[in-house]
Amino acid sequence: MSKRITIDPITRLGGHGKIDIFLDDKSDVERVYFQVPELRGFEKFCEGRAAEEMPTLTQKICGVCPTAHHTASSKALDDLFGVEPPPAARKLRELMYNAFMFENHLLHFYFLGGPDFIVGPMAPRAKRNIFGVIDKVGVEMGKKVIDIRKRIRGVNALVSGSALYPVCGLPGGVSKAITEEDRAEIQNVTKDAVEFAKLTLNIFDDVVLNHKGSAKWLTSDVFCHRTYYMGLVDDHDRVNFYDGDIRVVDPNGKEFVKFEAKDYLKHLEERVEPWSYQKILYLKNIGWKGFIDGQDSGVYRVAPLARLNASEGMATPLAQAEYEMMFHALGGKPVHNTLAYHWARLIEVLYAAERMDELARDGEITSPKIRNLPNQTPKEGVGVCEAPRGTLFHHYESDEKAIVEKLNLLVATQNNAAAICMSIEKAARTAIKGGSISDGRLNVVEMAFRAYDPCLACATHCLPGKMPTMVHVYDRKKNR
């Protein structure tokens, strides 16, 4: 009869989750189960709906990253109707998108995952939250966090209709043009956003990099996995959130494959286990070898660290300098330390701010030409973008009246499903030895999880599930 420890609910992340840790006779970790008790079923209930409703319907998969779904969906509609948005519309979408990424990553750093570092993983749990963060960084800084977030949300509301759920996406463009006054207002915000991003990186320097305890976590083997990495890149192989090709690098950082969104079925595959409601994505051309890392396993990772690993740099100057600094500090590319996700995330915050600023300075975004009307019969479309938590695919098939007949959605967090399992189990095995358990130690298990900023609302747009993180203890030669 094994003992069981339950962490329920997993806190400070987007969605429901529960971790069950089973201990053996020596009170060491025998098995860890990660459970997501949820069911929604978007893949089915969006069938029969009008295609033009998809951007506002599918974004309800996730209230943490609705703009990602809205964007992937709008792009899938462009493809479905065979229509390209005019330049101003494309830029407005990208501006909205970077504003969202900036805000969303900051939310994670200050509200969700960051408190573990800023306040400390072993801090009393009543302090491990935004209020504790404000105590630590000072009320002035706390106000700044809240203020910049509010103003960026304002930019999103201005461009897309709603701070939270954008409604502007249409096949071939957006619903609303912006004025020169709007643009001036946006520039005011983006200028400050760049400064704020720099400030946040300084805080990260202070509380993490220059803090022995935290820095130790960052490079600790507990949180390390050698995997493949995937992310969107532009035509110079630099990180891009809104558009590009999908690039995969191997655990040594070498390009493994680069493909267009419409070819995703050739490269990605999901497996189903009878004991789990969560499907597990892996690289199709390597195949599923179980929950193991390394060159021969199809397990890959996505999201901030993966995007930086899978690219050759950042497209904006300040972010590029930080990119070089991070890889220099952590011993070169690719970096396999899961907690470096937090650092990579802040570099992306800086990039998003700089990119927003570039777009806000581009006079073309106030052009009234924001739509091209489709003139071909809809049939099938794929859209992709980089959600905060990784690559997101929307794939629709419709009849000639643009009523959706089939959908497939590959959601950011699902790409990381296998890696998240591996990370939780590894952290649990390290943190819990001989039955020594404390709130702080259990929080370390959750930290493995929060580094990915997993969005369980997204991952379970499909179904609820238990995800045994490793079903058998196995030796390295054998697949499960």
């Binding site: 987007g14 209930f45 969005c455």
Partner: protein
């Protein structure tokens, strides 16, 4: 020294958007947080279930629950929160009406499963494995949570005192609801804490609406452009403003997009979808049977559109299917 009122926030079958809308209170969140004691809020604080279970009945002043009810666990939690709280407030469309996730009631639970595990093109599942309710694994039973056949709104499983509508609710409405609780100035129980009139009353385009709307064909938003100053209905584009409660600040309209009904029906309407179909019928300007059928057919997916947020709490609640014995 009096104790601060205790507040809890919980989510059921939801997307996290309602939590975000609380965080969007921005500096007001700090004001509210200073005035109350937040005792449970999984998205932002580290309190766990056992902390709630240990509380006395009625100890929490008010709990805001967002999300619809789909699983046994969610229903169980809703009942616990009900017991521990003096006031239970349905927060957002899903708790209020079933929300977008309620659209699943047009399908069977089994349809959801087979689509996801056996049909989608990325799935490699030659044996057609479906997740099992119970699997025995190395002597350990692994159980999956029980999933109800249908999605329900919160008040279909527990008594609800107030409703904050919207997908998402506006931060202003959430703040006002909180202040009502804190300042003890609550309206009669059962009130929906938003506007009393239809969205059209507060629509910035109301002046462009002609006395008599006359439509021969409904246009789809992908196939046409429209005047950003004019009433959508007058342009032949379906907008659910007349059948929808106001109080959203006309967010979608201001982004030049038509209303899709997230605030639910006004007080005197029982079924938002039925009302939507009626008011659209009333503005059609043809009575010849053939022409009329054509006009009706120009509405894409009427069920999905009119019941987008309110299917689970509508009169019929979802697709009628023979009861499986």
């Amino acid at each position: 020294m009096t104790e601060k009122p205790k507040i809890a926030l919980y989510w059921c079958s939801s997307c996290g958007g309602c939590e975000e809308s609380v965080i969007d209170l921005a500096e007001d969140l700090l004001t509210v947080a200073a005035a109350v004691d937040i005792v449970f809020w999984p998205v932002a604080l580290d309190f766990k279930y056992k902390d709630v279970v240990a509380m006395n009945d009625g100890e929490i002043t008010a709990t805001l629950i967002n999300g619809a009810i789909r699983t046994g666990e969610q229903e169980h939690m809703a009942k616990i929160m009900r017991k521990k709280s003096k006031l239970l407030i349905a927060h957002g469309s899903c708790a209020h009406l079933g929300g977008v996730v309620g659209l699943a009631n047009f399908y069977q639970r089994e349809d959801l499963l087979s689509r996801l595990y056996q049909e989608v093109p990325t799935t490699n599942n030659p044996q057609g494995i479906l997740p099992q309710h119970e699997t025995i694994e190395s002597g350990r039973k692994i159980k999956l949570p029980d999933i109800h056949d249908t999605v329900k709104a919160l008040d279909q499983v527990v008594e609800v005192d107030y409703y904050i509508p919207g997908c998402p609710p506006t931060p202003e409405l959430i703040k006002e609801a909180m202040m009502m609780v804190l300042e003890n100035r609550l309206p009669p129980r059962g009130t929906v804490l938003a506007g009393k009139k239809a969205l059209c009353d507060t629509c910035p385009r109301i002046d462009s609406k002609p006395d008599k709307l006359r439509i021969k064909k409904f246009k789809r938003i992908y196939e046409t452009e429209w005047d950003p100053e004019k009433c959508f209905l007058d342009e032949g584009i379906i907008c659910l403003g007349p059948a929808t409660r106001g109080g959203c600040n006309a967010r979608c309209i201001n982004a030049n997009m038509p209303c899709r009904g997230c605030f639910g029906p006004t007080d005197n309407v029982r079924d938002q979808g039925a009302k939507s179909s009626s008011f659209l019928a009333s503005i059609i300007d043809v009575t010849d049977k053939e022409a009329l059928k054509k006009t009706a057919d120009s509405i894409p997916d009427p069920g999905g559109l009119f019941y987008r947020y309110g299917l689970a709490s509508s009169i019929l609640k979802g697709k009628l299917t023979p009861k499986s014995s």
